[in-house]
């Protein structure tokens, strides 16, 4: 046997377990749920009754259901606010936590703490107790300002403001990613820049930010994926509502879930497109 073939066989034996798992726990459920989305499903006492309707449920979700465009817009509007807020906040915190000062470990421990606490139910409890917001964000000045926005945007902004602190809580992992990125930059680059007369502000823009662009990209992707299952997500509520609703049933709910999955892929594709140039991925 040629060495190359043998290497490939060895490699394949390492991936085999994962591949079986993929077929069982991803490929099969995805195909199954896609078939479900093409059927109207009624629940009998002992089994599910499938009635093939083709893409009708997709058509219905996209063009006939008044709730879905509203909720999707709300989700996109919220994400447009939340994602930059989280990433910029994480970036600022990472910059501060990456400077050397006594007690840095304690601060790091505090800011990474929410990473272990971000459980949907707990966050909901805290938001219900109005612990998720910052009091100055609920002052009348801010409220009046928000009310000048178009209604749908006002709702998105209000939702975000009401859970603003919880939104910030979701930035722990991103801080870790960005700090790791900052540490990957060779310190001698900063020294060289300093000798050439660059001040800290210039080094930030010319060395740090370009150096951590891939990490910023990863933080953005992570934040978006994280938002799918975040407790402030309005689309998930609609999907789960339809799962429980006998009239629309599993089929319709799955169709919406698939559209939601496509929306996520489109958003991620769009983000990749934005970052293509700074990442040097021009292909």
């Amino acid at each position: 046997m040629k060495i190359e073939t043998r290497n490939k066989l060895t490699g394949f034996s390492f991936i085999a377990l994962w591949l079986i798992g993929f077929l069982l726990f991803w490929a099969f459920p995805l195909i199954f749920s896609f078939v479900m989305s093409l059927n109207h499903i009624t629940i009998q006492t002992d089994r599910l009754l499938f009635e093939f309707v083709g893409f009708h449920q997709y058509h219905r979700a996209l063009f006939m259901d008044a709730e879905i465009p509203n909720v999707s817009f709300l989700f996109i509007a919220q994400s447009l606010i939340i994602v930059p807020v989280i990433v910029v906040f994480a970036l600022i915190m990472a910059l501060m936590l990456n400077t050397k000062f006594p007690g840095r470990g304690v601060f790091r421990a505090i800011f990474f703490l929410p990473v272990v606490l971000t459980s949907g139910n707990l966050i909901n409890e805290l938001t219900n107790q109005e612990q998720g917001t910052l009091s100055f964000l609920q002052s009348t000045t801010v409220t009046n300002l928000v009310m000048t926005l178009p209604a749908t945007w006002a709702l998105a902004v209000t939702n975000v403001l009401n859970s603003f602190l919880m939104v910030l809580w979701y930035s722990g992992v991103q801080m870790l990613i960005l700090i790791a990125g900052m540490q990957s930059i060779n310190p001698s680059v900063y020294e060289a820049a300093k000798i050439d007369g660059a001040n800290d502000w210039a080094s930030l823009w010319l060395i740090t930010l370009p150096g951590i662009t891939p990490f910023i990209f990863i933080s953005v992707v992570y934040t978006i994926v994280d938002q799918f299952t975040a407790p402030f997500n309005p689309i998930l509520e609609v999907i789960l509502h339809h799962f429980m609703e006998p009239a629309t049933g599993y089929g319709y709910a799955t169709a919406i879930a698939w559209l939601y999955f496509l929306l996520i892929l489109i958003i991620l594709g769009f983000v990749t497109l934005i970052f293509r140039k700074p990442l040097g991925l021009k292909k």
């Binding site: 290497n7 060895t10 490699g11 394949f12 390492f14 991936i15 377990l17 994962w18 591949l19 079986i20 798992g21 993929f22 069982l24 726990f25 991803w26 099969f28 459920p29 995805l30 199954f32 749920s33 479900m36 501060m96 000062f101 470990g105 790091r108 421990a109 505090i110 800011f111 703490l113 990473v115 606490l117 459980s119 949907g120 139910n121 707990l122 909901n124 409890e125 805290l126 107790q129 612990q131 998720g132 602190l165 910030l168 809580w169 990613i177 790791a180 990490f215 990863i218 994926v225 299952t229 998930l236 999907i239 789960l240 599993y250 799955t254 879930a257 698939w258 999955f261 892929l265 991620l268």
Partner: protein, 300 residues
């Protein structure tokens, strides 16, 4: 020179000032939770008591212990397992720890394959790996529940351990990527030397490569532990007769609205009981954890 030093100190003071403010804001909900958990009724009505209760009480914690079903209900005439799974703490621990331990190993195998090995269709499989990370669980939970039902894994932690055995499971894709990035940075000579000495590729992985991945193991194990502990959606689907601590919290919330107001301290006490175990793990592991993340470089 001295002007430079002064500027540096001023910068440090500003940074510290901002960090302290943000740290207090960050901790406020947790402190609120702790404070309210120990407040007695007289403290709640008394507006002058903000943080430290005058008459601290364990009543709320006691109530929450019952409401959260922390302890198993030992009923005679029922099997030991059936008795133990009535404890939410038992279910949470049995969901999180085995899954995390299994993922720690199986995701490393897949990560090694993607990071260091050659095999047919590697590029396609890499795309599929990324795909597993972005599929919302809401899209596929019914087939998964069906699968678990067929295998008898409903109401059993195996529902989470089984996919983990194959290098998947909760956020398995992310863990494979973390290992992949880590293994890519290990010098190739290490493997080659061992292979020339006559070691099989499997013992090279087990005895040389895998033990090197300790920083990645720490990150994967802790994240897996935390995410399984905090999971509410899939546990809510797969566990119909049993509950984890994370899902049990909502049960407290179902109480009538008027009661919820007076039971607020009890609800917060429930939350406190839920986060305490993971908080203890975090306090012990956090230094090692943050250092490991920097050494693995997580994702590049």
């Amino acid at each position: 020179m001295s002007k430079h030093k002064l500027l540096d100190i001023a910068k440090l003071v500003i940074i510290l000032f901002l960090l302290v403010i943000f740290a207090l804001l960050y901790l406020q909900p947790i402190l609120f939770m702790v404070s309210l958990s120990f407040k007695s009724l007289s403290d709640i009505v008394d507006p002058s008591t903000r943080w430290i209760p005058n008459n601290p009480t364990f009543m709320n914690i006691e109530f929450a212990l019952g409401q959260m079903r922390i302890l198993p209900m030992m009923l005679p005439g029922r099997g030991l397992w059936d008795n133990l799974v009535t404890s939410t703490l038992f279910v949470s621990v049995l969901t999180a720890i085995p899954s995390a331990l299994v993922q720690l190993f199986t995701c490393a195998i897949a990560g090694y394959a993607f990071g260091r090995c050659e095999f047919p269709l590697k590029r396609t499989l890499l795309v599929l790996l990324a795909l597993t990370y972005v599929v919302p669980p809401q899209t596929i939970f019914i087939p998964l529940a069906w699968l678990n039902n067929q295998m008898g894994f409903l109401n059993n932690p195996m529902a989470f351990v089984a996919p983990a055995l194959f290098g998947h499971g909760l956020n398995g894709g992310l863990f494979v990527i973390i290992y992949m990035q880590f293994f890519r940075k290990i010098p190739k000579e290490l493997e080659e030397a061992a292979l020339i000495d006559g070691a099989s590729p499997y013992s090279v992985f087990l005895k040389i490569i895998f033990p090197l991945a300790k920083p990645a193991m720490v990150v994967v194990f802790l994240f897996s532990l935390v995410w399984h502990w905090n999971e509410t959606f899939l546990t809510g689907i797969f566990y119909t007769r049993i509950a984890t601590l994370a899902t049990q919290i909502t049960q407290v919330n179902i109480l009538p609205q008027e009661l919820v107001q007076t039971l607020m301290p009890a609800i917060m006490a429930s939350g406190l009981l839920f986060i305490t175990p993971i908080l203890i793990v975090y306090l012990f592991a956090q230094r090692f954890f943050t250092e490991s993340i920097e050494r693995t470089g997580v994702v590049e």
